[in-house]
């Protein structure tokens, strides 16, 4: 087994008496296509929030590229290459699609805090953002207000914004959630074309998408890892079928 790019050991999170993450041991390999699945309330988003620094763990350790990042803030983890998308669109709705992506690109390039030149004169930021939008089929929407786009396209802007940070690890929290079936194929196509060098952890309820996309799957139930393996192994696991289909089908 190669060195993990992202690794947790003994990761726990409790809210009072309620434990939502219980001793999670997890590894994400470089370039991985890894899915995290589990029923509603399993603690998947909480786990991602702990990985990104949005939520401090109650106990345990998070290592990213060999460095202990458990106590680092969200911004510091992003700078090290940990990007994410959100389950519910978390975009700059009133801004143009181009500005959405450019804000991320500018931060990565270290020009986001500059005050002595107009934003529009940073051509390198604009060109890179436009290129990224074109690669996701959003070139024609660059000038549109983000909130005016169809929901499926907004999900793609979520991904574009995260890719603008050129992450080493990308955490995709239900990228196809809420997308109408007429637009979901486009999201799937984009996921299939994500850079091979980026390790991806996807949280998704759509099992068809998970089994088409992931090379490895971790099943989380009530804050604990139930099992982990290749898609075929997970599909054949009786415990997973029981969790998803109930005793009657187990």
């Amino acid at each position: 087994m190669s060195d993990a790019l992202l690794q947790t050991s003994g990761l726990c999170k409790s809210f009072g008496a309620l434990t939502v993450a219980d001793n999670i041991e997890f590894r994400l390999e470089p370039g991985a296509r890894h899915a995290l699945i589990g029923p509603n309330g399993a603690g998947k988003t909480t786990f991602v929030n702990m990985l990104t620094g949005q939520l401090p763990p109650s106990a345990g350790r998070i290592e990213f590229a060999g460095e202990d990042v458990t106590r680092l803030g969200q911004a510091a983890r992003v700078k090290r290459g940990l990007g994410r998308t959100f389950q519910i669109n978390t975009l700059f709705g009133a801004l143009s699609v181009l500005d959405n992506v450019a804000l991320g690109v500018a931060e990565r390039r270290g020009v986001g805090g500059r005050a002595w030149r107009a934003a529009g004169s940073h051509r390198e930021v604009r060109d890179e953002s436009l290129e990224l939008l074109a690669s996701l089929g959003l070139a024609d929407d660059a000038a549109s207000r983000t909130v005016d786009l169809p929901y499926g396209k907004q999900r793609l802007v979520e991904i574009a914004l995260a890719l603008g940070l050129r992450p080493k690890v990308l955490l995709l929290d239900e990228p196809a959630a809420g997308v109408p079936s007429t637009e979901s194929q486009r999201v799937l196509d984009v996921l299939g074309r994500l850079p091979a060098g980026v390790a991806i952890l996807i949280i998704e309820h759509d099992m068809e998408l998970v089994f088409r996309f992931a090379q490895r799957i971790t099943v989380l139930v009530r804050g604990q890892i139930l099992c982990e393996g290749a898609p075929r192994e997970i599909a054949a696991d009786a415990r997973v079928r029981e969790v998803y289909l109930g005793d009657a089908h187990g």
């Binding site: 510091a76 934003a119 930021v125």
Partner: protein, 328 residues
Amino acid sequence: MPLARGPAIGYGGSARLHPAELLPWAFAIAVYFLAPSYLPLGAYVLIIILFALSLDLILGYGGIVTLGHAAYFGFGAYVAGVFAVRVHGDPLLGLAVAAAASAAFGAATGAVVLRTRALALLMLTLALVSIVFEVANKWTEVTGGADGLNSVPVGQLLGAFRFDLFGKTAFLYCLAVLAAGWWLVRSLVHSPFGASLVGARENEARMHAIGAPVYARQLCAYTLAAALAGVAGALLTQTTQFVGLSVVSFELSGEILVMLVLGGVGRIYGAFVGPLVFIVARDYLAKQSPEYWVLGIGVLLILIVMFARGGILGLADGIAARWRRSRP
């Protein structure tokens, strides 16, 4: 706060000066030559515009809702007054000292209040202006207490221009300082820094998720806004040679907010239009009805909030957009 926003400023836009942006300056110069009897009122309007502009930077672009911005205006006014009385009467030196002191005060208080949001932020900023008011009220040996500081000595501007009875020097002095403040704010809001402020206003969680140091950026903007408000306060002290408790009141904090909403929040020029309309309307209504003029201001504000959420400039934008659409 459902205030209509101006057009997004960012990486797809241009910061080139539009000819319409020269209108306020042309209007001010016209007032100087064509309406000399209004110069003292004009200087006051220019000062309040600078104050509103400083508020627009943090409220309109940074999304920081405050009820205490008069604390910095008043602080700058008192610093300029005390400096002139006790140290030196040079107006530019006094202005620089007031700017530096207000910036330091803004940084120190901003470091605390910006850790809060929503109602807590409102309450803290309200408490701040109340504290500064009480300090100014009770520290009589320095501030003059309820009587304020009268006959503040103000030297010649650049050693050559005396502040005259007709307010000519004061008007041009305020106009020049406002132009510098406008250029600074305009440059900032068009820069990547300004774009990131707007980003935090629109979605703070996402700004964190893209690695932006939101708190540090907001604190920088808050400090600068405090400095600009302090400069505006110092201008008032220097041009009237008086500083009293009214410059640091909660009423002034509320009024400046009302003026900005009236003009249009997050548009730069809303800070020009709002104070002008408010002060001229107040002047006119107070002459017509000294007892009930506030009622007229209230009706004006209700109409704006009900029918023009983007303020007067938002309304003008809407009309212009409809006119463009109706053209064949």
